[in-house]
């Protein structure tokens, strides 16, 4: 009975799936989907090499000089529009700043506070335990200032986009005029006023104005030449760190754990081999009490 019912249920589902297949195939042939500008001209991120890359990434320690440069780019450029909600000033000691430097950096930001005499909301200089302040009071203010787009929080951005740091690097160096081939192929395509063309962004037009416009936009203290490309790399590296401050520690721990596991597994293998040594022969089966009685 089970098999008879099952037989018809199986045939039913199979026929419906194949029917759907036929319908889909017919639609594909009669009205193939049209290409869009984004499907043809969207580009994969450019290659970017960082010390945090790959399996060995940061396991001998981070490139703190680059992270500090990247932090400087964030502070002087991106922080005007983008928040960094998950990072506190105290975290900056992990990229090589001293306690005193962190104090000074925090004091340079005004964070929301409460007036101790009147109890009214006010702004006060930050302390190391504070988190980075948000540039806009709320989403409505953020939209109003950015052509109806909200600049996303950057703390996790390199984990929240396919391509990670390479995507951020490509995006902020990828602004360009609309290529003539695109115009030829899709005459209707346009970049509305207030938006900017960027082939690395999924739908090609985004509301962020090119943030890094000229070499020397920030002044590096360590003597590195602040080209647009260099600044973009540095800020991408910094955003890898903000997304996962424990990355270096994770890799270091991983090597110790794997080393131990390899050792333990070899031992376990040898133990198993020894226990099983006689299985291919006739067992010297221990006489159990019952057997003896029989």
């Amino acid at each position: 009975m089970v098999r008879i019912i099952g037989f018809f249920v199986g045939l039913f589902f199979a026929v419906m799936a194949l029917w759907a297949f036929g319908t889909g195939l017919y639609n594909q042939i009669t009205s193939p989907p049209e290409k869009t500008a984004a499907s043809v001209f969207h580009r994969q991120p450019r290659e970017l090499r960082l010390s945090s890359d790959g399996w060995l990434g940061d396991w001998r320690g981070q490139d703190n000089e680059q992270l500090q440069r990247g932090f400087q780019v964030y502070k002087e450029v991106c922080s005007a529009c983008h928040s960094l909600n998950h990072v506190a000033f105290r975290d900056l000691t992990e990229i090589g700043y001293s306690q005193a430097e962190v104090k000074a950096i925090a004091a340079g930001f005004m964070v929301p506070g409460v007036d101790p005499t009147t109890g009214e909301a006010n702004l006060r200089p930050g302390t190391p335990t504070d988190y980075f302040p948000k540039p806009f009071a709320n989403d409505i203010a953020a939209r109003a200032a950015n052509h109806n787009a909200i600049p996303p929080d950057l703390s996790l951005i390199t984990k929240a986009r396919d391509g990670g740091a390479a995507y951020v690097y490509s995006l902020i160096t990828g602004f360009q005029p609309i290529p003539p081939e695109l115009k030829k192929q899709f005459p209707d395509f346009d970049t509305p006023p207030g938006l900017y063309f960027n082939p690395y962004f999924a739908n090609l037009n985004l509301a962020m104005p090119p943030p890094l416009r000229s070499n020397g936009q920030v002044e590096y203290k360590d003597g590195t030449n602040p080209t647009v490309d260099q600044m973009a790399k540095d800020v991408a590296a910094f955003l890898v760190w903000t997304a996962e401050p424990s990355l270096g520690k994770r890799h270091q721990t991983g090597f110790v754990v794997l080393g131990f596991l390899l050792f333990a597994t070899v031992l376990a293998y040898l133990a198993k081999k020894q226990v099983w040594a006689e299985n291919k022969q006739e067992f010297a089966v221990e006489e159990s009490p019952r057997r003896k009685a029989a």
């Binding site: 089970v2 098999r3 099952g6 037989f7 249920v9 199986g10 045939l11 589902f13 199979a14 026929v15 419906m16 799936a17 194949l18 029917w19 759907a20 297949f21 319908t23 889909g24 195939l25 594909q28 989907p33 399996w55 909600n85 998950h86 975290d91 996303p152 703390s155 996790l156 984990k159 929240a160 986009r161 999924a202 996962e244 401050p245 424990s246 994770r250 890799h251 991983g254 754990v257 794997l258 596991l261 390899l262 333990a264 597994t265 376990a268 293998y269 133990a271 198993k272 226990v275 099983w276 299985n279 022969q281 006739e282 067992f283 089966v285 221990e286 159990s288 009490p289 019952r290 057997r291």
Partner: protein, 437 residues
């Protein structure tokens, strides 16, 4: 239960003798996974995965309970609290990665465990109950993982919850109210997050209960083995300890190496980038994709794109969505009927030449379904998935019963001992060369 030659527990130390009288727990362990449990001597490494599944469950419970100490199930802070775990809790990143990759590891192990059962006919008598309990565990694990994935309250958490609970709205008449009741609102929000957390905490312990029943039911006939020939004599078995404790120990080491490669070096490889974006009810992600272990069923769901009509009219009998949902749930529920669909008296695929070919086709079919389920709902992926879905149902409900009726199995060894040693002194000439019915 167990075989007459099973060793008996004889406590020697006075404390153990006292314990055996008051609460014979050591005796239970001795008889269940100790020297008192005789096991076929020819089990291969595919038999390691049951123990590994148990290990994964334990791992999820331990890491999960500690995560729950730091996690806050409230829609306004859930996302931030997982980031708090990642950044501020001592070794919190390790706990979270161990738990999220532990879920994936659990499903890898379960899939292998289940396919071991498919190939070696482990679902056949006398082990039907073991199989039924196993399928139940799989369903519970899927529910647990689905609700766990909602907890970090990222974009995929939110939209995944919305899509999956939306499946219930396909049920005629009661669907819409049912979805609202399940979610505690019109869309996933605090009410949904709280109940998902509560159930996500509870279900693993329910699973643990079912695991105990699963093992209990298994120990009545004892384990099957790669030949599928039942144990006949003492020479066919070895005591679980030390033979299989040693083998499982080695297997666990290999498993942990692979698992730790993911935890420490590729912790986000199996996840989706969008889940690092906080849930946003007004921004639909470009693609809503579940975790990889749901991809085959997601592909089946999306394969049913046309409604069932009364022929030559526009009267719909079952709309496409309901059809997809029914097919998706049926695709796993039909596993419950496997012991009665496949009536071949021979268990092991090694001795079933026709069955074996279809088995490998099923493996490929599931991989294809999984691949398509992880891709956007575009052509050619939907069309490929439609063919694969059709095969999936034909395999279990049409091909398997027919093959089991018409196939001529190859001769079986007389006994496990003969299979291992090449001869068995007690072998009776002619017995088992053609399988008994």
């Amino acid at each position: 239960m167990s075989f007459p030659w099973a060793r008996h527990y004889e406590p020697k130390a006075p404390f153990m003798r006292w314990m055996d009288e008051k609460l014979p727990l050591p005796r239970l362990i001795f008889n269940a996974v100790g020297a008192g449990y005789p096991v076929p001597r020819n089990l291969n490494y595919w038999w390691n995965f049951g123990v590994l599944a148990g290990f994964c469950l334990g791992l999820q419970i331990v890491t999960g309970v500690i995560l729950a100490m730091h996690y806050a199930p409230n829609a306004t802070v859930a996302f931030d609290s997982t980031e708090h775990i990642m950044r501020d809790v001592n070794w919190g990143w390790l706990l979270r990665y161990a738990h999220s990759n532990g879920a994936s590891a659990f499903f890898v192990v379960l899939y292998i465990h289940i396919f071991r059962g498919f190939f070696y006919g482990s679902y056949k008598p006398p082990r039907e109950m073991v199989w039924l309990l196993g399928v139940t565990i799989f369903l519970l694990a899927m529910a647990t993982a689905f609700m766990g994935y909602v907890l970090p309250w990222g974009q995929m958490s939110f939209w995944g919850a919305k899509v999956i609970t939306g499946l219930f709205s396909a049920i005629p008449f009661v669907g819409e109210p049912l979805q609202i009741w399940l979610l505690g609102g019109y869309a996933p929000d605090n009410a949904a997050l709280n109940r998902f957390f509560s159930l996500h905490f509870l279900l693993p312990f329910v699973i643990a209960g079912f695991v105990i029943l699963h093992i209990w039911a298994l120990h009545i006939p004892g384990s099957s083995n790669p030949t599928g020939v039942e144990v006949k004599d003492e020479s066919d078995t070895v005591p679980f300890h030390p033979y299989y404790t040693a083998k499982d120990g080695f297997g666990l080491g290999v498993f942990l190496i692979v698992y730790c490669l993911f935890v420490f070096f590729l912790p986000n490889y199996l996840g989706h980038a969008d889940n690092y974006i906080p849930a946003n009810p007004i921004a639909t992600p470009a693609e809503i994709v579940p975790e990889w272990y749901f991809w085959p069923y997601y592909a089946i769901l999306r394969s049913f794109t046309v409604a069932l009509h009364v022929p030559f009219t526009n009267v719909t009998i079952i709309d496409a969505k309901l059809l997809g949902v029914t097919a998706m749930f049926s695709s796993i529920l039909l596993w419950f009927f496997l012991p009665w669909l496949d009536r071949s008296p021979v268990r092991s695929g090694h001795y079933r030449p026709v069955f074996r070919k279809y088995f490998w086709l099923l493996v490929i079919d599931l991989l294809v379904l999984g691949y398509c389920g992880g891709k956007p709902a575009e052509e050619p992926f939907v069309m490929i998935a439609q063919i694969a879905s059709a095969y999936y149902f034909l395999h279990f409900l049409v091909i398997l019963p027919l093959v089991s009726a018409f196939e001529r199995p190859e001769p079986l060894p007389f006994s496990i001992t003969e299979a291992v040693l090449g001869s068995d002194k007690k072998a009776v000439l002619g017995e088992n060369t053609s399988p008994a019915t």
